[in-house]
Amino acid sequence: MLRPTIFLARARAAAIVAMGLSACAPYPQRINEAPIMMNGDRVVAADAGQVAPTVAADQLAMQATMDSVRAAATAGCAPETCDLIARGEVGLGMSEVQVYAATHSLPSAWVVRRSGGGAVMVPATRSAPTDRLGEMVMVQLDGPRTAVISRRGPQGILVASRPQDAGAAAMAKQAAAQLVREGDDLVMANDPDGALNRYDRASVLDPEASDVQFKAARLLDLQMRPQEALMRYQRFLLSMDIERIKAHGEANAKMAEAIALAQQRIVILEKQVK
C-alpha cells in the first residue's frame, strides 16, 4: 500500500521553516529599561543629624511661646482659674490665652474664628489639644470668656455650658447619661446583655442615677433572672428618696409609678426566690 504523498510549494515550505525557526529562537528580551544604579555606584547613608539644629531651634521657639502663654495666662488670674490651669483643665470663664495654658498647647494648634463679640476655637490639625478631661473639640467664647466647652469622650461629644457641667464629676454624669442612652438603643436592638453592660458602667460613673438601677432591674426581670432583678429593684428603692418623690407630686409621677412597680415586683420575686 502506498502512503499519500504531500506536495509542498517552495514558498509554503519556506514559510513553515521560518515559523519553526522563529519558535525555536531564543526568548526575546523584553526589558529595555536603562539601569538607575550599577555595581560600583555609591549610596550615601542619610544623616539625620543635619536637621537636628533646625528641630532643636524649632522646639526651643515653641517652648518659649508656651512659657509666654503661661505667664500671660496666670498673670492676675482668679484663684480657681489658676487652680484649673495648674491642673490642666479648661473651665468656663477662662480667657483665650488661659485655654492655651490649660491645654498646654500653642496658639498655632488652634484655629480661632471671630464673629461679633465672640469667637470659636477649634483644633487646627488632627493632633487636637487635650486637657485633663479629654480631647478638645471646640471652645466657644462669649466676649473674652469661655462659654461652651466641647470635648470628645468615649461615647461621643460632651458639652459643658454651665459651671455644674464643667468639672470632672459633671463629665462623668454626662458620660453615664450617654451610656444609658446606648443601653436603651441596645434594648431596642434586642441585645439585653450589651444593654446591661452599659447600665452597669453608667451606674459606676454616676451612682446617684437611680433610673439606671430600675432599667437594669426590669431587664433582668424580663430575662427571668429573679434573684438579680430582686437585688436591682431593692437598690433602686434604696437609692430613691421616696419622701422627696412624694413631695414633688405630679412632676415625678412617672418615677412614682416606677417605685410602685418595683415594690410590687420585689414582693413577687421574693416569693419566687424563696
Binding site: 526589558i31 544604579m37 555609591r42 549610596v43 550615601v44 542619610a46 526651643l60 515653641m62
Partner: protein, 201 residues
Amino acid sequence: MMRLKSLLTLAVAGVALSACGIKRVSRVDPESVTDLSGRWNDTDSRLVANELIGQSLGATWAREWSAANGGTAPTLIVGEFRNRTLEHIAVGTFVRDLERAFITSGSVRVVASSDERTEVRAERVDQQTNATAETRARVAREQGARFLLQGDVQAIEDSEGREKIVFYQIDATLIDLESNAKIWVGQHKIKKYIQRRRLTP
C-alpha cells in the same frame, strides 16, 4: 630523569591550580553598591532607610503634635516590621537606621520596644534588691509612647528563562495608639532586573 621531569611538572601544575582557589578578602566602602546574586542586600536596606528617613523627617505630624503639646516631642515605639516575602530579609538593619535618625534629629523621642523592655525591666527589678537606694532606678516611671511604628516588606517576582524581575515594596505606618488613626505612611519601592548570561567572561 624523565620521571623527575614529570614530577616537577605535576608539582608546578598543582601549585598553579591551588593558587586559583585562594580565598581573597578585602574591605570595601559600606556605601558602595555591590550586587552579586540579585537578592535583597545592604544597598536595598540603605536605600529604604534613606527614603523612609527623608519621608518621616519631612512629614508635618511631629511638629503638629508638638504644637498641640507645648513644644514637647512626640514619643514613639518601634513595633514589628514583618517580612512577607519568601526571601530572608534582615528588616532590623533599616529599622535601626530609622530609629537612629529619629533620635539624632530630636524630632521624636523613641522608647524601648517590647523585646527590649523585658531585659530592662528585669534589670530594674534586680536593682530594687541589689543596688543602693540612691543609685537604683525607680519602678513605674516608664514613659508611655503615643505612636507605634509598624511596617512590612512585600515582594513580587516574575521570571522567564534566564531573566527575572523582583519588586520589593516596603511600607511603614505610624499609628496613634489612642485613636488607631494612621498618622503617617512611608513607602519605598525597589525593582530589580536580574539576567543570567549563558557564558560568563
